[in-house]
Structure formats: structure tokens, C-alpha cells
């Protein structure tokens, strides 16, 4: 294991930590962005209930984005500069979206009742804009920040894919956290967005190797193709299992209401690994490697020590928060 002796393990651990934060972000903020998008199709009392299901969590969920980008910033300053200035406008659009939805979340409940409708729309729009922009960035990243018209088209398509993925995990969250009519509606939403997600996964899996010969070789040369086959195969199994299960939900006594959410997390994790494998060892596709972009080892070390102490505590109290608010969502009350 020479990576431990030549000092490469530190940047690699940070890349892993950053990837993990991004993955957790996609799952956690993914479900609350998804809920925001699905609100468009809900009645007013349903909207309150949907907001109630994400209310105690959304703040902390967004913090994972700050951590992910923060790790990119602190561990790989060069890559941070290249990536964020290449994605300047989509980043700005995403930030506007995030600002709008975060503010709307509070205003919809606190401003005058006749403005509530407008704030609900702002919450929906902010969620949609954020998801689209994140997908656009992913698309643009896959293409190595190419700026042609075709590249923009592709990035927009990936934007739509991410919207579908977030709707899926949002709907599965609602299946777990709601009951009655809203739960049935959520099953319907999940089934529709599962189709979108399936198309999305297919699109990204096919196009990524086509864009880069390096990525193509990583997947399709022998013996990689055999060793890696489980990733797409298990993904396919999970997708089919999810579709079969969704047809039967809700079951009596609400059995298995949590299974779709967990299955979707599984799908997200597998897709994430596929992408991570494709791009490794680059942090900026085909331009800059993880090792080349890293900060000084002594600075990385001091962050790592802090992270190793704090992360278990952080995960611990996140768990406590989810435990306190477990079970079916109620309308939010401060008292």
C-alpha cells in the first residue's frame, strides 16, 4: 500500500470525505428539494403537511452542501477556483434558487395569509431552480466544462434528470412520513418519477463513456467490465424491485412504508459510485488530478483531525434529531 507512505493518502482521504458529503447532500437535500418540487401538485392542506415533514431537517440538510463545497475549497483550492469559475452562472442561479426557497419556507407560514400562495409558489420555484442548476452543473462537469450549444443542451437534460431523481427520493420520503390520501398520491409521484430517474441513469451511463475515451476504457476494458458489472446490475435490480413494490403500496398497517426510501438511497449510492469511479483520479475531468490540486499536508492534517473528532458526534446528533421527529409528520408547531 504505497499510497500510505508517499503522502498521497491525505488528499485521497479528503477527496473521499468530500465525495461522501456530496452524496449525503444529494440524498438529504435531495428529498427536501424533491418535496418542494412535488408541492406544485398538492392541495393546500397537503402542502402544510409536506412542509411539516421536512421542517426540522432542511437547514441541516443544506449544511452538507456547505461542507462539500467547503472541503473542495479548503482541500483543493485550485480545483475549487477552476470548477466554480467555469460554472459561474449555474452556481449563481442555484444560489438564487436556494435563497428563494429557504426564505419562502419561513415566509409562507409567517407572512400575511393572502401572500401564502405566492410564497408556496416561490418555494416550488426555488426548489426546481436549485435542482435544475445542480443537474446542469453535473452535466457540465461530465463534459469537462465544454461550452458548445450541444453541451448546454446535454447539461439541461442532466438538469431534468436530477429533478426526476430528487422527485423520486422526495416522493419516497413522503410515503414514509405521511398517511392517507397524501401517501397514495406520493406513491403515484414516486412511480412517475421512477421512470424519469431510470431514463436519467441510462442517459448519464451511456453518455459519460462516450464523451471521454479514458472513461470508456475504465469501464469496458477486460477485466474491468466483469468486475464492475455488479454496479449497473444491482442498480437495475433495485429499480425493478422498487417499481414492483410501489405497485403494492400502501400495505395494511403501513408495512414497508420505509422500504422505497431506503431503496432509493441505494440507487443514489450506486450511481454516485459509478460517477466517482469514472472520474477518479481527476478532480477536474481530464485536467487536474486530486493529488495536484491538494493543499499543504500540514493544513489538511489539522482539518482531518478535527473532522475525525467532530464527524461521529455530528452523525450522532443528526441521528438523535431524526429519532425525535420519527413517525408520521404533523403540521409544524413551535409550541
Amino acid at each position: 500500500m504505497n499510497i500510505f507512505t508517499n503522502g498521497e493518502w491525505l488528499p485521497l482521504s479528503f477527496a473521499a470525505l468530500m465525495g461522501l458529503s456530496m452524496l449525503i447532500y444529494a440524498v438529504l437535500d435531495g428529498y427536501d428539494l424533491g418535496v418542494g418540487i412535488l408541492m406544485k401538485d398538492a392541495t393546500d392542506p397537503e402542502k402544510d403537511r409536506m412542509i411539516g415533514s421536512i421542517g426540522p431537517f432542511w437547514d441541516a440538510n443544506e449544511t452538507w452542501l456547505v461542507l462539500g463545497v467547503g472541503l473542495l475549497l479548503v482541500a483543493f483550492p485550485k480545483a475549487h477556483g477552476i470548477i466554480l469559475s467555469s460554472l459561474y452562472l449555474p452556481v449563481a442561479v442555484m444560489l438564487i434558487g436556494l435563497t428563494l426557497r429557504g426564505a419562502a419556507f419561513d415566509f409562507r407560514a409567517k407572512a400575511k395569509i393572502d401572500h401564502k400562495h405566492a410564497w408556496n409558489n416561490a418555494f416550488f420555484a426555488g426548489s426546481l431552480i436549485t435542482a435544475m442548476a445542480q443537474g446542469y452543473m453535473l452535466g457540465s462537469y461530465i463534459l469537462g466544462f465544454e461550452k458548445s450549444l450541444a453541451a448546454i443542451g446535454f447539461s439541461l437534460l442532466v438538469g431534468a434528470c436530477v429533478v426526476a431523481g430528487y422527485c423520486l427520493i422526495g416522493a419516497c420520503w413522503l410515503i414514509m412520513k405521511t398517511e392517507g390520501e397524501l401517501q397514495k398520491k406520493s406513491v403515484h409521484w414516486a412511480r412517475v418519477s421512477l421512470w424519469g430517474t431510470m431514463l436519467a441513469i441510462a442517459l448519464i451511463s451511456i453518455s459519460t463513456p462516450l464523451v471521454s475515451a479514458r472513461i470508456f476504457d475504465k469501464w469496458f476494458s477486460f477485466p474491468n467490465i466483469v468486475l464492475l458489472a455488479p454496479i449497473p446490475l444491482i442498480t437495475a435490480v433495485l429499480v425493478i424491485a422498487l417499481e414492483v413494490l410501489l405497485r403494492q403500496l400502501p400495505k395494511p398497517n403501513d408495512r414497508w412504508c420505509w422500504v422505497p426510501f431506503v431503496t432509493t438511497i441505494g440507487i443514489f449510492v450506486l450511481c454516485f459510485h459509478g460517477l466517482a469511479y469514472s472520474f477518479y483520479p481527476y478532480i477536474v475531468p481530464d485536467q487536474l488530478k486530486i493529488i495536484e490540486a491538494a493543499s499543504a499536508p500540514e493544513s489538511l492534517m489539522i482539518i482531518l483531525v478535527g473532522a475525525l473528532i467532530v464527524l461521529p458526534v455530528l452523525i450522532g446528533y443528526t441521528f438523535v434529531a431524526y429519532k425525535i421527529f420519527h413517525g408520521k409528520a404533523k403540521d409544524l408547531s413551535y409550541e
Binding site: 421542517g55 443544506e62 449544511t63 461542507l67 493543499s295 478535527g306 408547531s333 413551535y334
Partner: protein
Amino acid sequence: MIDQLDPALLARIQFAANITFHILFPSITIALGWILLFFKLRFNVTKDYKWMEAYFFWTKIFALCFAMGVVSGITMSFQFGTNWPGFMETVGNIAGPLLAYEVLTAFFLEATFLGIMLFGFSRVPGWMHNLATFLVAFGTTASAFWILVLNSWMHTPAGFEMRDGMAHATDWLQIIFNPSFPYRFTHMLIASGLTAAFLVAGLSAYRWLRNDRVPAVMAALKTGILTAAVLIPLQIFIGDLHGLNTLQHQPQKVAAMEGLWETQCGAPLVLFGLPNEETRQNDFAIEIPKLASLILTHEWDSELKGLNEFEGNHPPVAPVFWAFRIMVGTGLLMLAASWVGAFYLWKRKDIIKPLAYLLIPMAFSGWVATVAGWYVTEIGRQPWLVNGVLKTVDAISDVPAPIIGISLSMYLVIYAVLMTAFMTTLFYMARKAGQKKSEANTPSSGQTVAEAVS
């Protein structure tokens, strides 16, 4: 037209717009968190339900401010990369760990326990809710700690060495407790205390004027006024110390604050004047002889360095000069208002109408003073981004001016919308709270009082 604009200037305006909008909300929440904990603990001790009513009302405002702070803060974490890549490339080894520790030790703590604090009152035992409230307050303060460490380091860098054009940390204790940090951190915490105190006092005065004088309103009003009355002399004292510290490390900033062009012994205090960078003097100046020397060195005749000593290496004078006067003027107004208020509360156990009218606009006096103060210190650092290490112009990204123009316009539009919504909602919430008759009088943790958010 926009492509003739300087991208560096646009990027600076954008950063200023983002951080100005952002700081408004943390400057409330840092201290309001502790005020909420105070309300809660007062209830625990006295069992007087007015404290819980005050707690619930201000919790909603806290939640609103917190959400605005979070979303505007996320923008900040991206700005470094999108507009100022040179910053992290040069001092990333120092700034990186500090920012990472802020996220790890503060952001998650406050965000997670905020959920329990806001919506967990009827789901968790009383002690746990107290703990959550404490951890949220602690988290906001910890966040202020780390960010002020970094900001202070940019003013008075220490504990590092430059290798190949990059800063490398040599002593983390020196970095964290760099020379201006203790003053800046204290100054900011008290500024937050004053901002929250005047907000509480101002909004309570608004309810008082609408004849909504239930015990909860009076308790909050009293808390706001007395907190302000205690903090403002403290702030003037700390501000003075901070000024002396700045004189030692960044004399050109102090010279700009005072509008002092020539180095002189027994320098005058410029009460009014229009700093003119062309002629390098103040037009229409009204001065009090020797007072600046006295204030800054505590001696009548000592020498103060003028801006001409730093030609080409000092900040733009007029904005620093004016922002400083706005901050000090607001501070003096705060002193007057809070002490008059405290006097009437002591004499009559109530306030008087003219004071209530004054306190309403002063609900936002903390914002004015805080933002003006930050303009003094940040514009006063120019042309440096990190004092003596990195110039602002050298950190800029190569994003062209029109693109920055687009993002800047989007930000300004959404900030204007949100600011309008925020202000109107605050007063709407105050009116609504007054219309609602308090139904239950002795709920405790675990009992759900029927008041949904909406």
C-alpha cells in the same frame, strides 16, 4: 456600457452586497439565541408564563432570521471560488482549516438543534429543549468565533510564513489569537447584542404603542432596553480599545477614519468635512484641536501619522471617514435612547410615548451601526485583501464584467424582494401576536398548545 466597467469593482460590489445582506441576520441571531435562552430560563425559575409567551414570539422571528442567514451564508461559501480564487490559492492553507472548523463545529450544531428547538418543544423533555436552545446559541457564537478569527487574520496576519507565494501555517495559536482578534470578536459580539436588544425593544415598543401591553410584551421591552443600556457603554469602551489596536497595526485605516492627511502632533478631531483625494485635504472642515490625538493615544500632543505617509497604499478616504461617523453617531443615539428608556423603566415602571416612537425606527439601529462598522474596517483594509500579503486586485477571477453584472443584478433583485418581505413580515407578526388572546396559561413542555405556524 457594462463591459466598460471594471470586473474587479463589480466583483467587489457583489461581495459587499452578499456579505452586507448576510451579516444583517447573524448579527440578530448570535445574540437573540442567548436572549431566548434567558427567556426560557426565567420561565423555569419564575414559572411566570409571560416569559414563555415572549419566548414563543421571538422564536418565530429567530427562525425567520436564521433561515435568511443560512441561505445568504451559503452564497458566501461559493463566492470565494466563483469570484476570488486568488484568495484560497494564496492563503488557503490558513483560511481553509478555519472555515472547515466553522462548518464542522458550528454550522451542523446550530442547524440540527434548531430543528429540535423550533419544532421539538412538545416532543422532547424540558431539559433537552433547554439544551437544544443552549446549543443553538452556542453554535451561532462559535460560528462568529471562527469567522472573526479568519477576518482578523486578514487584517493582522500572524503565525505563518510565505513559501513559493503561498502562506503556510507555522503556529496555529498565533493564527487564531492574532493581534486584532480579541478586540474584533468582542466588538462584534457586543454589536450583535445591541442589534438584537434594539430589535426586541423596537418591536415591543411598536406593540406597546398599539396598546398591546400584556406582561410578555413588557418583559421583552424591558429586556431589550436594559440589555442595550448595559451593553452600549461597554461597546464604546471596547470600540476605543479596538481603535488603539488598529492604530498600532493599520495606521492608514485610522488616518482615513479621522480624515487626517498630514502627519502632525496634537492632531485635531474632524467633526465634519468632505475628504478630497485630489487636493488631499478636507473641504469645509470643522475641527476640534488636538482631540484626535487625545482619543487615539490618550495624550494631547502625541504624533498621529497622516495619509500622506501612505500615498498609494491607503484606502479610499471618504467611505471610511463617513462610515465611521455613521457608526459612532448611531452608537451615541443608542446610548441616549437606552439610558432614557432605562431611566423611565426605573422611575415609572413604564416607557413614554415619544420614546416608543423613537424606538421603532431604532429597531434597526444595530444594523446601521454594524454595517457601517464593517465598512470602516473592510474598506479600511484596502488596497489589501490580506494586509501586506495579498492585494485585492490579485485575487480576482477572470470572469468577464458582463457575467458578473448579470449575477449581481439577480442578487440585488432578490435581496430587495426579501428585505421588503422581511420588514413587512416582522411588523405583521407583531400585530398578529397582539390580536391573539392568550388562551392557555400554564402549559409546560409536553403539552401542545394549539398554535400552528400558519
